[in-house]
Amino acid sequence: MVTIDRITKAYGSSSVIADLRLSIEPQQVTVMVGTTGSGKSTLLRILAGLERPTSGEIRWDSDHRGIVRPNLGIVFQEPRLMPWLNVRQNVEFGFGPAGHRRSAELADEILEQVGLESFSDYYPRQLSGGMAQRVAIARALVRKPSLLLLDEPFSALDALTRSRLQDHLMELFARHSLTMFFVTHDIEEAVALSDTIVVIKGRPGQIQHRFRIDLPRPRSRQDPAFMVWKERVLAALTNGDSP
């Protein structure tokens, strides 16, 4: 479990997030929904170690080997593939500088799981947006992360590709028993993927609502219960805002 304890982040005199407290439960999908500028991506960057909080701390539970240092995987809004590496090499990049003695084999394995085994020799310029994002997901998963961070990973894709990639992600979630922290502004995406939805609002961003989504998986977006959840999250997100 990851505990975010009273995290505040300010740039000069401008606070982006204030006094944020949150627990990310293991083997669950925690989705943070918020409007643009509410600081949700900042929190994810703090979790990834790309930014330091102004105050507060993040506590990582040690794993079964007693190692506190988290093994993180991250998928950004853009695929961020290295253009000089082919698909397989981009996935192997996920092993870090030490590499892995079976890195090529494991990369091929994960590429098969994301349906790109026949594209392993392609370069990023030869891929579509959806394919490139799947390579980015494969790169994050190849190191078997204890926490997978996703920062609006499908927001730049068309609706059909987005929906299909969401389904693929949930298949991978089940297959690898992942713990995911997912940031999005798409309410439907949040309800489709989450075990818990956290609504962050305001400037500085603060957690306003938490919802436990108990819908069975796989979730149908036409299911009336799904629609109800969408309405509830939307109301929580817009409640108190001027029209």
Binding site: A48, G49, L50, L72, I74, F76, E78, R80, M82, P83, W84, L85, N86, F93, G94, F95, G96, P97, A98, E112, Q113, V114, G115, E117, F119, Y122, Y123, P124, R125, Q126, L127, S128, G129, G130, M131, R143, L157, D158, L160, T161, R164, D167, H168, E171, L172, R175
Partner: protein, 291 residues
């Protein structure tokens, strides 16, 4: 249905396919002509015009000569074997200077590009030195290193240093932050970060810098060979001038042009292969021609 099959079936829909542009791009690379015949037209017309003007006596033969006289001079140099002596002397100087200047540029460029302290410490001085005209160094280099090979190679190295250094520093300092973040999250730091991100990301600029450096090495070798050389294309140039033989002089200029073009062509060939991954626009690609 297994996951991979599900994903594969999804792959067949919409924008997930690599699309025809991928194949078109590959085809365009294959179809790209190796030799652009258009580039030969202008020099050919100029050569014919020159020969005709020379034979008709329109040109002063004391200050210029005809293309056939130049060919005869090249033949003479080849026949006596002198051409190889001069070419070898110049090539050794150019490549020694180019290698030395590039090596120093890569080391200093990487250090200055990656370290803010080194950037603040070294960059203003290096920029100030860059402003010194190349010929201003000649007397100083003769004074410091004599008139033999050391001063010549160091002068060429100085010329080759600046373009590569500037290209390297500027490209390292503008590497995409987003790619660096991916590397940091995956545990790359220090030397590994430089090797796996900064250097490959700077490779296009490095090749541009290398080509400019090589071009300047060929320019600086002329200045270097003016410093008391007994062999080399620069010596041939001076020799032609002092003995009043325009054919020798023009032959030397021609050989400089051919050698410069040939070595730049080699570097361009290496560059094209090393940067095959770039998503660059090719004017002769099918997409560009379709309009």
């Amino acid at each position: 249905m297994p996951t991979s099959s599900l994903l594969r079936s999804a792959e067949q829909v919409g924008s997930s396919e690599p699309g025809p542009q991928t194949e078109a791009l590959r085809a365009s690379v294959k179809r790209r002509p190796r030799w652009n015949a258009l580039g030969v037209v202008l020099p050919a017309i100029a050569l014919i015009g020159w020969e005709v003007a020379s034979r008709l006596g329109w040109l002063d033969r004391t200050i210029t000569s005809s293309p056939t006289e130049i060919l005869a001079e090249i033949y003479h140099l080849l026949w006596t074997g002198q051409i190889w002596v001069h070419l070898w002397a110049t090539f050794v100087r150019v490549f020694s200077g180019f290698a030395l200047g590039s090596a120093v540029a890569i080391v200093l460029g990487v250090v200055t590009g990656l370290s803010q302290i080194a950037y603040r410490l070294l960059n203003p001085t290096i920029h100030a030195l860059r402003s010194v005209p190349s010929y201003a160094w000649v007397p100083l280099f003769i004074l410091w290193f004599g008139i033999f090979e050391t001063s010549k190679i160091l002068l060429i190295a100085l010329g080759a240093f600046f373009p590569l250094y500037l290209a390297l520093v500027s490209s390292i300092r503008s590497v995409d932050r987003k790619l660096v973040e991916v590397a940091l999250v995956n545990g790359f730091k220090g030397w590994n970060l430089a090797r796996k991100i900064f250097l490959p990301a700077s490779l296009p600029a490095i090749f541009v810098g290398l080509r400019q450096s090589l071009g300047l090495a060929w320019m600086f070798v002329v200045a270097a060979e003016f410093m008391g050389a007994t062999h080399g294309l620069g010596f041939l140039l001076i020799d032609g001038q002092t003995t009043g033989r325009p054919a020798t002089l023009i032959t030397s200029v021609l050989l400089f042009a051919l050698c410069g073009k040939a070595t730049d062509g080699c570097l361009a060939w290496v560059s094209e292969r090393a940067l095959h991954w770039q998503d660059a626009y090719h004017p002769n690609s099918p997409e560009a021609r379709s309009d």
